[in-house]
Point group: C2
Chain length 404, copies 2
């Protein structure tokens, strides 16, 4: 019997599905002695294992029949209520728990947004650099990406305005702007309050949607204003995403979208075909972990650990890196961005050599929708052990030196 | 500030997203005293709550750091190995654990298949009736559905062959055939072995893919041949799906796809953008539940419960329903299909009246891709309490009587 020839059966959109460099890389390093500064994993020290034992025993005793059963697509009501309180306390105003849908991690939130809001050729604004998971999710809907550079105050909203003026002058319209305003991944910067207000004004003037992705605002290492775009929104233009992945455990895959009820209803219709609903059991665990204060204590513990690790990485960069390299001084989040001194250096090509030498990172090129960033890389400091951070940077600097 | 006008922002494909009648219905009945014969929920009596407490305590003690962390898109290796054994023991031959990808319920498996294999206007064959979740997932890719009727021996493969001959004669090709060969949802029938073999021959002759959805083969109530299509496949044409939802707990959202490694690699690339990976924690729980024999004991317990409930429902139908009604005598699964005596009766319209009278079901129309089936309904017997089954059918029969 002749085997099926798969290439003739694949849908055209498979070409749009990037094999994420980050996850491919996780595979390459598997089983090798490599210090990984790639990935964006939380430190497992922060996982509240003992507290979860108690929580889960209680759930199975008191609510087992519901926690193991099918549940509504939008998420269980108690979790949506608890998230409403949680967000309101953190300066993200939510009127009603019906304005929230629970998702299977915020990656699914991004996929739902791509499916429900983006048509082929729609203009979608992304920061340069931006989160790879968002770029990949949106790409499936074949938008025209518009890249807007970042600086120490976040997305350069003046450049955005100039670009909008030009696009609208040509009769084009922008459908949505995706941003990580607080503690940006990978850039480590926070958008200034003035720019946040300006962005909101632009969204009203030019009539576009803002997707505010907020996984890291619990981890700011300097006193800073974390006013959410959502709290500045007066016209239901802001779609707010967040997740428990960094403040409880990524293995539960619990994220959410907060938006107008009207939008949430559309997201719900979409999610139904994607996975019916997010794990009921993980939702009950999340509910109890927020309610009992476990999440709050994880945040406090993690923030101390990550600040220390960040400082260790910054010191090591200072100590080892050759002159001419630039790196971000993150005000929050889990990453440092490193730029090599020459434009012709390619961190993708350098990666295998780095892995052979014993260190892994994520090449920066794929974070830039405009094809730039080939001489940048993203370094994660939340996951590696403290002693490995310095050693990893030492190895990395010698690999870089070889290329200069 | 003028509120965003959402309708102008929605992607065109939102029109393809059906609000599933089943799930909308679950909402309507919420908080009312209605006997629900809708849904397809397992009986919570079958949930192994105490066993899960032990399993989870062990996981958190011994493997907590991994179980709460991010994990590979394809699924954790140990679960894929365990599923390989599990399937091999059940007559579904899998060569290698790399031929399996873990999904967030089998609904996600269907979504992945729709995204990776179906282009707009591709011909996709569905049984009449078929599983609503599959119809909805596939519809997002805008296929041309071809409906093939079922009888007591499952899909009528002779009719399929005639249809294939006609389509191919017109220069058209079929990309995939979706079937639930064993203990069909909603029809309750099993495809005869002879037809299964014939279907495999056709897939080779006409060069199409078979999607074999197998959520119910653990629940057959009469001795019957459950040879999988996958075991008859000689040319990597069969994509096999199944789930732990009915044999452990749907709240965990653990399903999987077994196919050629080449296909699984494409599914993995796709899944990456959908949700990164399925809950690591739920995967560890599933792994231990299979390995320790808990799943096996759930199957044994559930099978006895469901057979008894099925018999109760059949007796009640016999006792109460007016002459001229037809219903299936399921050889397996969780459902009975009921057809009312006149073609002009519409079970969708009758539903609200039924809910007012105190019973809910799923109108059959949405299970038929050809627009037929308006006078049918699906009745679930796995979830309702035994005493409610008779009472529900009694109420239903009086609603039906009012319409005759």
């Amino acid at each position: 019997m002749k085997d099926l020839r798969l290439d003739r059966f694949l849908a055209d959109r498979v070409n749009l599905m990037a094999a994420s460099e980050i996850r491919e890389l996780l595979k390459i390093t598997e089983g090798r002695k490599v210090i990984s500064l790639a990935g964006g994993l939380p430190d497992p020290q922060t996982f509240p294992k003992d507290e979860l034992k108690g929580i889960i025993n209680k759930i199975l005793s008191e609510n087992g029949d519901r926690a193991l059963q099918y549940s509504p697509t939008k998420g269980i009501g108690e979790l949506r209520s608890e998230l409403t309180n949680f967000l309101n306390c953190r300066g993200v105003p939510i009127n009603n728990s019906d304005d929230i849908i629970v998702t299977s991690g915020s990656q699914q939130a991004l996929h739902i947004i791509a499916l429900t809001l983006i048509n082929p050729r729609d203009y979608v604004v992304m920061e340069l650099p931006s989160y790879l998971g968002a770029i990949n999710a949106f790409r499936l809907s074949e938008p025209n990406f518009v890249g807007i550079p970042l600086d120490d105050d976040g997305m350069n909203v003046d450049i955005l305005e100039a670009r909008l003026r030009r696009l609208y002058g040509e009769g084009k319209t922008v459908k949505l702007v995706y941003t990580i305003p607080i503690a940006h991944n990978p850039a480590g910067v926070t958008m200034s309050l003035q720019r946040r207000k300006h962005l909101i004004e632009l969204s009203e003037k030019y009539d576009f949607i803002i997707v505010e992705d907020d996984p890291y605002s619990s981890f700011t290492y300097e006193p800073s204003d974390t006013t959410s775009l959502k709290s500045l929104d007066r016209s239901n233009r802001v779609i707010y995403l967040s997740t428990l992945s960094k403040i409880l455990a990524p293995g539960l895959r619990i994220g959410w979208i907060a938006a107008s009820k009207e939008m949430v209803d559309v997201f719900e219709r979409c999610k139904q075909s994607l996975d019916l609903h997010t794990s009921t059991f993980a939702q009950f665990i999340s509910l109890e972990a927020i309610k009992s204060g476990v999440v709050k204590s994880v945040i406090e513990r993690a923030k101390v650990i990550y600040k220390r690790k960040k400082d260790i990485m910054l010191e090591a960069l200072e100590k080892y890196l050759v002159p001419g390299c630039w790196w971000s001084k993150p005000v929050g989040g889990l990453f440092i961005m490193l730029r090599l001194p020459r434009e012709d250096l390619n961190t993708s090509k350098m990666l295998f050599e780095a892995i052979d030498a014993g260190v892994a990172y994520v090449p920066g090129g794929s974070f830039y929708v405009d094809g730039s960033g080939a001489n940048t890389m993203r370094l994660n400091f939340s996951f590696p052990k403290e002693e490995d951070i310095s050693e990893g940077i030492r190895i990395l600097s010698s690999v870089v030196r070889n290329h200069l």
